[in-house]
């Protein structure tokens, strides 16, 4: 069941209840034999509790049919007033009495700044209630990727990629004066380079790493840049409005999420009809280098395999056309960002590969690899670095960039 809830009593002046606006969407679904999930998104700021009748009824219905756990998903509920909160509290009190065996879990997002403190009070009051901050671990190796240590990886990567990416951006539809959203913006380097070279009307970068965003903001502040904003956010549940950006980018990120379709859905939602979505992803299977090709290939094949175990697809680049096509985009364009030691600064390229040692090490730990596996991976990375630096060697790192236009039709 999925529907939008209008206030139960959208009163008229004569009824004494002021006209209200409560644009909340309600969604209920069975998530298993024993579980029910009720999702509330949008805004819940009613004038009186009676306006929550539909919500309350749905919650009670879900509570009656759930046998073990009822999840109340509030991760995209942006605003809630105390009237609505008290009504949820009343529901919990009712459930504690009518269904004492039922556990209730409020699923919250750390992106919504008021939510955790508010619901902690209810969780402390009722032993059957828990809260889950779902985005504490919502994709594989999240803590590695969002860590300060990863800043060095990103800085070196961005520098050499931009040199090759920039020249093709106009072909993908980038031009001055656009409203741009850079989802999973990392350190914000891409946003700043776009600002310099393409002068967007407005650019917002969203990332889930607070250290990255602090870095990004500092850069914007140091250089006195305008029209760039950064948001702490979850790429799979963005708080950006529908149909609001001309150009939506998501670079080198889909490959690390185990459910990239959830992010694509959001990219599509925030993109204006006629606007373009631009993604880049690696093709790790296409990394080649000489000398040392056997050791190098073994290492990357192993990283791909470990990535699969962790729910990541390091070969997402090859599926770019399929991804954009299945998202319903038109006028799909794809090009290869072919980084190699002949067309890029070998010192920078080598630094990038050296920095991968940290990430692959963490991937080995997460997937419980024996120490010798990581040692062999390090050997492969080392051989790759040597090939990059060698006067006679050749080493490449293929990244696929693709874009598609969001259709005008509904």
């Amino acid at each position: 069941m999925s529907n939008s809830i209008a206030p139960a009593s959208s009163g008229t002046p004569s009824s004494g209840v002021p006209p209200s606006c409560m644009p909340v969407a309600l969604n209920m679904r069975l998530t298993g034999d024993k579980e029910q999930e009720v999702t509330l998104t949008g805004t819940l700021r009613p004038f009186v509790a009676e306006e929550m009748t539909s919500v309350r009824r749905s919650l009670e219905q879900a509570a009656w049919s759930a046998r073990g756990l009822l999840c109340v998903n509030l991760k995209r509920l942006k605003y809630m007033n105390n009237v609505a909160f008290l009504e949820l509290n009343r529901f919990v009190r009712w459930a504690a009495s009518a269904r004492p065996d039922l556990r209730i879990k409020f699923v919250l997002s750390s992106v919504i700044p008021w939510a955790i403190r508010k619901f902690q009070v209810i969780a402390e009051l009722y032993p059957t209630v828990t809260i889950e901050v779902y985005d504490k671990a919502f994709y594989p190796i999240q803590d590695v990727i969002e860590d300060d240590e990863f800043i060095n990886v990103l800085r070196t990567q961005e520098k050499i990629i931009w040199e090759h990416e920039q020249e093709k951006l106009a072909w993908h539809g980038m031009r001055p004066g656009l409203r741009i959203a850079d989802i999973c913006c990392g350190l914000g380097d891409f946003a700043i380079l776009l600002q310099r070279d393409f002068r967007p009307e407005y650019l917002v970068g969203v990332d889930h790493s607070k250290p990255f965003l602090r870095y990004a903001r500092q850069v914007v502040s140091d250089f006195g840049l305008e029209n760039i904003e950064y948001q702490y956010g979850d790429a799979a549940a963005l708080l950006l409005p529908d149909n609001s950006f001309d150009f939506v980018t998501c670079r080198l990120s889909l490959q690390v999420f185990n459910e990239p379709q959830n992010i694509l859905r959001e990219l599509l939602r925030i993109c204006k009809p006629g606007g373009r979505i631009y993604i880049t992803n690696e093709l790790m299977a296409g990394i080649v280098a000489h000398p040392g090709e056997q050791s190098i290939r073994w290492a990357y094949d192993k990283v791909i395999e470990i990535g699969h175990q962790l729910g990541m697809d390091m070969d997402t680049g090859l599926k770019t056309r399929q991804i954009l096509g299945e998202a319903g985009l038109e006028d799909i364009k794809i090009h290869l960002i072919d980084i190699n030691n002949m067309n890029s600064d070998p010192t920078d390229f080598a630094k990038v590969v050296e920095s991968w040692s940290y990430v692959t090490g963490q991937m080995c730990v997460r997937s419980s690899q024996p120490p010798e596996v990581f040692e062999r991976i390090k050997e492969g990375l080392h051989a790759h670095v040597n090939a990059i630096k060698s006067d006679r060697g050749f080493a490449s790192w293929p990244i696929y960039a693709g874009s598609g236009r969001k259709p005008f039709r509904a």
Binding site: P18, P19, S20, C21, T43, R45, F47, A49, K78, Y79, M80, N81, N82, V83, F85, L86, N89, R90, R93, V111, I112, P113, W114, R117, K118, V121, I122, E124, L125, K210, L213, R214, R217, E229, Y230, Q231, Y232, G233, L239
Partner: protein, 185 residues
């Protein structure tokens, strides 16, 4: 529950505002009649003002989402408790990472009693226990005050009142908790 009979005005707060520690951000004035015409004005105004106040923050959107929560609760209480006409003035100041809202509104005697009681409850020593007890066993007629009390009990806002003698207006001072540039309390 007893109603406080006298309340000490907060002249120190107003005097403090003259000092350089407080930075004026904005002033909004609107009529009671316009504001009270629609409930949704609380939501719209809270979001608009929050966005304005958060414009220079590191994460304006998240900062504004949090601020809107606080401003909205205050406006909802004002919506329910004000004199039939007159002007409402909302002043935003900033001290370090704290935003301080001063709202001055026309009140009836009944409104005045309501706000005195709210301030008294907010400033009781064990507010958190009191708030939790109200969630467990809500008392009749207290719901409209709980939003304001939640700001103090859950988010550590402070609330004071100033009543200039001989006027049918009061000022409420809501000091918000320290919010970092990311919009984190």
């Amino acid at each position: 529950m007893s109603i406080v009979k006298t309340i000490t005005p907060a002249p120190t707060m107003e005097a403090d505002f003259a000092s350089s520690r407080y930075r004026m951000i904005m002033v909004a004035r609107f009529t009671v009649g316009g504001f009270a015409r629609e409930w949704s004005h609380c939501h719209l105004l809270a979001n608009y003002l929050a966005r304005y106040v958060s414009a220079n923050e590191g994460d304006p959107e998240r900062h504004a989402t949090l601020l809107s929560t606080f401003i909205n609760e205050l406006l909802e209480v004002i919506y329910r408790n004000h004199a039939p006409d007159g002007q409402i003035e909302l002043i935003f100041r900033k001290k370090g990472r704290h935003v301080i809202l001063q709202i001055t509104l026309p009140v009836s005697e009944q409104n005045r009693v309501f706000y005195r009681m709210a301030v008294q409850i907010v400033n009781q020593p064990d507010l958190k226990s009191w708030y939790r007890a109200r969630l467990e066993e809500p008392a009749e007629g207290e719901d409209t005050m709980l939003g304001l009390l939640e700001l103090a009990a859950v988010y550590a806002c402070t609330l004071t009142i100033s009543e200039p003698p001989g006027h049918d207006r009061i000022s409420l001072f809501l000091e918000l908790p320290e919010v970092d540039e990311m919009g984190e309390v």
